[in-house]
Amino acid sequence: MDSPSAQPVPQDPPQQRRSAPQRRVAITAACLGLVVVVAVVDYLTGVDLSVSLLYLVPVCWCSWSAGRRAGVLVAAASAEAWLTAVLLDGAPIQHPWVLVCNTLTLGGIFTLVATLMATLQGTQAVLEAKVVTRTAKLGREVAERRWAEAQLRQAHAELQRTQMQLIEAAKMEAVGRLAAGVAHEVKNPLMTLGMGTDYFLQRRASSSDEATLLQDMKDAVHRATGIIDLMLDFSKPRPLRLAPEDLNAIAESALGLLRLQLLKQHIEVRRLLDPALPQLPLDRTRIEHVLVNLFTNAVQAMPEGGTLTVRSAFQQAAGTDDSPAVILEVEDSGPGIPHEHLPKVFEPFYTTKPPGQGTGLGLAIVHRILQIHGGSIALGNRPDGGARATLTFNLHPQPPPP
């Protein structure tokens, strides 16, 4: 994630900055005009002190809005205007120096007021600028904190994902060690049993019962070998032989392998296959194994017949990180999967089938094969009954977990 860009400090647009001196000139001119108006009023009312205080209005306004210099100028102009009004009024003057002193005093007071107002305005402007800067800084800090929090959340999610992968890898390693150990310890005695059975099968059996018994023993050895082989393949799957494949064609081929069983159990197959699927990098044999496994589960869930639906589709954002993916759904019209079983269906050796009929490795292997293809599988129930397996094949597969 990128670092957040610093929030800009609010500034006046250039055009406004260029017109500021003109604004000051305009205000000064308006204030001088006001001074003239006050002087006229002053003259007409006989130069009264209370009217003279009106000069403070343009002085204050100008120094506040146009700065100290303009304020002092208007203050001087006000003193001058007051003097002119007094002279025009023609009232008797005790001594010319009194008039000079009064003018200077009034001018001094006006200048002092102008300076005070300008200083006050300057202080306020500084304070305002500080507030703006501080607000911007706070904004940046808040944005940085939000960014850091988002980073933290992302890191936490990644950590959880890695942890899950590590747990998964540790589980696989344990299963692998177990499988290799069990394979060695069980397959050697199975070899002795198998060879012994073969020996007696070669010699003509004395009765058909004996022959059946020997064949049953041979089948039992094969079944036990099959389970150990499943464990070995699950724990250390051989490398994938990837080639561009058409998933629809693999689904058809897997359905073909179960044709007889589908006919026998009166199961109708609904094919909703998207003809425009892109080709995917797949190990055909292993994906066919996955599909045969899922179709067999579906068939077993419908002993009295039903509908097996196979649906494929290309979706733009169905894959990991919303990447494009190909989806394949396998649905049956059986009773569905009890909710309490759903979280465990992909665990190795978890089975709900009667003893001897399920190893509990079928779906675990399916899950594993999808995983090493960089895809995924989800199992759930349809709202209108029956189970649904959803296989997702990323168009650009991620590297598989260790």
Partner: protein, 123 residues
């Protein structure tokens, strides 16, 4: 009659393979259960083919095969490895092999074993 030597640390396996192959009437089968004396036995027996277990104590199948190949007169004797820690799927259609030799996953069916032996003896 072709001579076959089977080397496996489990006596029950060597015994059952010997009984089966000899019952066919085409082979003379010798058994060895100690990998440390396997090369010595092979020198004495001069077999046409050796069946060799992979996982054995003290000396594994690979080491025994290496010793056999250094022994004059035994360099060209075909070896078929028998291993318990691979699945059947891994042995089928597999281009790779152990040191250029075939290998079969235990438990081996008698007909598969005989077919493999015959294919080597014909060569």
């Amino acid at each position: 009659m072709k001579r076959i030597l089977i080397i496996d640390d489990e006596a029950s396996i060597t015994r059952s393979v010997k009984l089966n192959l000899e019952a066919l009437g085409a082979y003379e089968v010798y058994q060895e259960n100690d990998p440390r004396t396997a090369v010595h036995t092979a020198r004495e027996v001069r077999p046409d083919l050796i069946l060799l277990d992979v996982m054995m104590p003290d000396l594994d199948g690979g080491e025994v095969a290496a010793e056999l190949q250094k022994t004059p007169g035994l360099q060209h004797v075909p070896i078929i490895f028998l291993t318990a820690i691979v699945s059947n799927e891994e042995t089928q259609g597999r281009e790779a092999s152990i040191g250029g030799h075939d290998f079969l996953a235990k438990p081996v069916d008698l007909d598969v074993l005989v077919n493999t032996i015959e294919s080597h003896l014909e060569d």
